[in-house]
Symmetry: D2
Subunit: 129 residues, 4 copies
């Protein structure tokens, strides 16, 4: 059962684009991560990392690029997620340009939790339901 739809705003700056005129493809992964961090909560993520030594790691990312975002775009990052098991969350994420009729980029991102020794850990009790 999927979550509610979450919206996150990402502004496209010079730093995000490349010389072809659109956002450099790897940077959409950054927008997706910022949205996920907004959902989990930066303070909680920071506490987990600095106090418990637990962090999230991407172990799979499937991306489709349909249209390039340009400098000045205010992007709507739309996210749903499924807690697939005690160890894994799957995030369904989309980048929407202003006035867009379909997503510019879509991604399915699989996350796990690792301790400081990069050992798998059960997902912490965070509000992902």
């Amino acid at each position: 059962m999927s979550s509610q739809l979450h919206h996150f705003t990402a502004q496209v700056y010079y730093e995000d684009t490349d010389h072809s005129g659109v956002v450099y493809h790897a940077n959409y992964l950054k927008y997706f991560e910022r949205a996920r961090e907004d959902i989990i909560g930066i303070e909680e993520l920071s506490r987990l990392w600095h106090e418990e030594g637990v962090g999230f790691a991407v172990y799979r990312a499937d991306l489709s690029f349909h249209e390039g975002a340009v400098f000045g775009d205010t992007l709507d990052i739309r996210t749903r997620w499924d807690k697939e098991s005690l160890y894994r969350v799957i995030w369904h994420q989309e980048v929407w340009r202003p006035g867009g009729e379909k997503p510019a980029v879509t991604g399915e991102i699989h996350l796990v939790c690792l301790d400081r020794n990069k050992k798998l850990r059960p997902l912490p009790e965070i509000s992902l339901d």
Copy 2:
């Protein structure tokens, strides 16, 4: 005569840090640019670029690093600026960590305007006063 003080918020994400645990030094230049773009106005910058072929370029940047920002920090980017001539704006910018007593990073950034052929142009009539 300097401008008023402008505040801009930058969140520190995974993407901003390096393996030493703090924000990678080059990334403060990104925060400074985001703040300047907020001041000039993204829509106006986008219009200048896409319609008039005019963009801003950094031609000098002097940076001092006093303290490293960490993942989870909500940074306050403080900016003042001087229109030094018809061709040049000097930006005085600071990065403040939450609860900080002095700036973590300071920068003086000199900007000029260039056309698509990289020729110097007078600054456009934007609200920088």
Copy 3:
């Protein structure tokens, strides 16, 4: 029919890592792109872009992350590719850490060619066979 195996070396620098101690996940896409540009040839890519207005664009990227690379690693980026049609190249790419027994990261990247108006173009006659 796949190509020969191509090797490209990528050095892991501070800029590539994040505060968890390993390479930031989006940056493997940069290594993959550098390897592809080495195969096609930077001079040819530059000529195609500056003289013919043709560039390559990623329209799909499927990534699996098995192990994190760390600062100081000299990575071996291994690439094979298939020219699937007149319009599409599929690249099978792997990141190998020094002494690794299996790839740290694997990716399947689909590329197309676009002109300056972002219209699909047949692949140029480059040495991809």
Copy 4:
């Protein structure tokens, strides 16, 4: 007394440029750092960090931008350095474009050494003479 002149090659990739068509200004700091790491030695830097918990940190960077590098440029990063004291190295660095008659970008970068608690440490006995 300054060091000999050191040369380091940096290739300009898509990832380095922005939508204005030239290398994004913050990225020259990355080229400068790669050159410094080549001089100190990646293996030595890695050993210092992983075994002794010592890393280098930039505490000042003064940059001047004269000309933009473009996709396809093979840049020559020229570096000299002065060990100013037991605690500080000053690096004089330049970016040269192919066939350039003067540097495209110049930088003066001040480095110190920090331990894992971000405390100042004397520079390690590395071959910087």
